[in-house]
């Protein structure tokens, strides 16, 4: 290594799409010389007086990573992507300004590795991290670590995330905010006998739920005392294994409910708004298949009350950034709070289309300290949007995952059609992550037109090389009950 010689250091400063080359003469970097000066330029970009991020790390993969990269590009923010060995070479990575490999294929060794994500954030020189959904998106520890390393976490404050992430404390906050909750144990059940007492009080059937669970995991129905006693043991053990928290609580089991959730957005200046509701009753094993807005056949008064409750709950908890309050609605249109998803969700495009608001951009702006650029009165709901999740699963074979290479891909298009996906012809779906390969969303003035549009898209859609849930989708969109919306969260499992 040369020593003592002056070296010209080529210095590239990337400013949006510009590159600026500056030559400096600086002493050579050498080991053993304590006095070395490296020119370091920190460039802060301000927009409208607010300190906007220059660079963001996308701590996720697949379609949501692509979604975040797109939002950043439109905001003029550079992106640093991360990928596992299984995702090496994916096309969406080329759309980021930089990409770093953070580990081997399994998520636990890559996308869930907090230290590696932070390392990538440091070497990538970012000011913020967007966690997407899943992976570390609701990991309060990760959010804490980011912020302690002076990297903003694009999401809620740690405390709000923790309080709302815990189902029991979320219920407490909801009750304080005057939000109706499903009757149940007020807190974790300490033992079986307590649970039985609660069940006797609220009436069977009851639902045993894990306080640290989510996404439909850690839930069991008990129709009587015997199954309650047996189920509690099993549920607690499952919860310990899956979420490292054996705490369970009891709720009244509302039979054949509808699932209605409200999108909320809050900034760091005390402004909280709702962006209306979505109905996600078309589910299979608690995995959503179809989501739509507005919720069909919901009285306007009920709709308004659900949205107001969501806003009140968020205000009460001090939550900021984007989030969703989930409710179940019984056949008499009574609604009950279930949980808060303290992150952006898969089905966010539905709300984006009916309100015209870019939720990912708003997340970034809120995290940078901006005030929401609209009030509740400014937010209008237009038309009907329906989203179909497309999974690489074989509906004929018990929805077994179908990894493989897409040999042929022809996408639908035309007015009112949006396809959010990272896949392309030649893309290989690996078995390491969830099976969702894309979301097809349509937006039309009425629900009937939206359904017609979706049927047209499903005819246009060609995908070969892997099995997908498209055949099931065709059946769902042609089913009278779906069109009529006489459905509940058990409909798909009972019918298909």
């Amino acid at each position: 290594m040369p020593s003592g010689k002056l070296r010209k250091t080529l210095f590239f400063l990337r400013l949006r799409h510009m590159e600026c080359a500056c030559y400096f003469e600086s002493p050579a970097r050498q080991i053993g010389t304590p006095k070395v000066q490296i020119q370091q330029f920190h460039v802060f970009r301000f927009l409208n007086g607010y300190h906007m991020f220059q660079r963001i790390l996308v701590a996720n993969r697949g379609e949501i990573a692509l979604r975040i990269i797109r939002a950043c590009r439109e905001l003029g923010i550079e992106t640093v992507a991360v990928y596992s060995e299984a995702d090496r070479g994916a096309h969406y990575l080329q759309l980021a300004d930089e990409a770093w490999c953070i580990g081997p294929a399994p998520a636990s060794e890559s996308y869930l590795q907090i230290n590696r994500i932070i390392s990538a954030a440091e070497i990538g020189n970012v000011q913020a991290v967007h966690p997407g959904y899943g992976f570390l998106a609701e990991n309060a520890h990760f959010a804490e670590v980011c912020r302690s390393c002076n990297i903003e976490f694009i999401g809620p404050p740690v405390l709000a995330m923790q309080q709302l992430g815990d189902k029991v404390s979320a219920r407490e906050i909801a009750m304080k905010a005057g939000v109706p909750c499903v009757p149940g144990s007020d807190g974790l059940v300490p033992d079986v006998n307590e649970a039985v007492k609660v069940a006797d009080r609220i009436g069977y059937p009851v639902l045993i739920k894990a306080t640290a669970g989510g996404g439909g995991k850690g839930m069991r129905v008990a129709g009587n005392e015997i199954s309650l006693r047996a189920g509690l043991q099993a549920a607690s053990a499952e919860a310990e294994k899956a979420f490292k928290n054996p705490g369970v609580y009891i709720e009244k089991y509302v039979e054949r409910p509808r699932h209605v959730e409200v999108q909320i957005l809050a900034d760091n200046h005390g402004n909280v708004v709702h962006l209306f509701e979505r109905d996600c009753s078309m589910q299979r094993r608690h995995q959503k298949l179809i989501e739509e807005s507005p919720a069909p056949k919901l009285p306007e008064e009920v709709r308004q009350r659900i949205c107001e409750c969501a806003v009140n709950l968020v205000r009460e908890s001090g939550y900021t950034n984007a989030g969703t309050c989930e409710f179940i609605v019984d056949k008499n249109y009574n609604f009950y709070f279930i949980e808060v998803n303290a992150r952006i969700q898969v089905e966010h495009p539905v709300t984006e289309l009916v309100t015209g608001i870019d939720l990912i951009k708003q997340q970034i702006l809120v995290a940078a300290g901006e005030k929401l650029p609209f009030t509740q009165a400014d937010i209008r709901h237009t038309g009907c949007a329906i989203e179909l999740r497309i999974n690489a699963e074989d509906p004929e074979n018990n929805f077994r995952g179908s990894p493989g290479t897409i040999t042929k891909l022809r996408l639908p298009g035309g007015p009112g059609v949006r396809f959010d996906s990272h896949v392309y012809e030649g893309y290989t779906i690996s078995p390491y992550y969830d099976s969702m390969i894309g979301k097809l969303i349509v937006h039309k003035p009425t629900r009937d037109e939206a359904i017609q549009c979706m049927r047209r898209c499903l005819r246009e859609f060609v995908i070969e090389g892997i099995a997908t849930t498209l055949p099931l989708a065709k059946r769902m969109f042609n089913h009278a009950n779906f069109v009529d919306f006489s459905i509940d969260t058990t409909f798909v499992e009972r019918t298909f």
Binding site: T33, V36, C101, R116
Partner: protein
Amino acid sequence: MAKPVESEEKSESFDLDRIRKLLQLMEKFDVSEINLQNDDESWKIRRGPRVANAQPASSPGYAMPTMAAQAAAPTIAPAPLAAAVPTGVTINAPTVGTFYSAASPEDAPFVAVGTVVKPDTVICMIEAMKVFNSISAEKSGRIVEILVENGDAVGFGQPLFRIEPA
């Protein structure tokens, strides 16, 4: 120490040449900070040594990685991989972080071209989140080529050394 630098141009936007000139002027006159305003957009450029998480507490003034190394990397996967793929057996980075070839600025590098290594020989350090990880060779052989420079950012699996297996 800093001299104020006045910018007299009234351009419509912050174009490339202007920024380049500004940076050169900043360095020339040892200016540490400039604030620029243009309608609703403003820029603040601060010049100074990196207040780095990467800096080891024990040795101030250690050769720190420049932004140049990262900023110069092309948009696709980092330059070292995009460039000539090293053939032969390589020792790859087991984690993400900043590569250091010696334990501290005062020490000699762990290995050099020609060094014979055993599986437990420490060959470099990779710093991640203020933690310095000693990286062992995990292989036996002779170092034939060092593929990264001290202070470079490295990704998981990135080849660091080429060795001739023994």
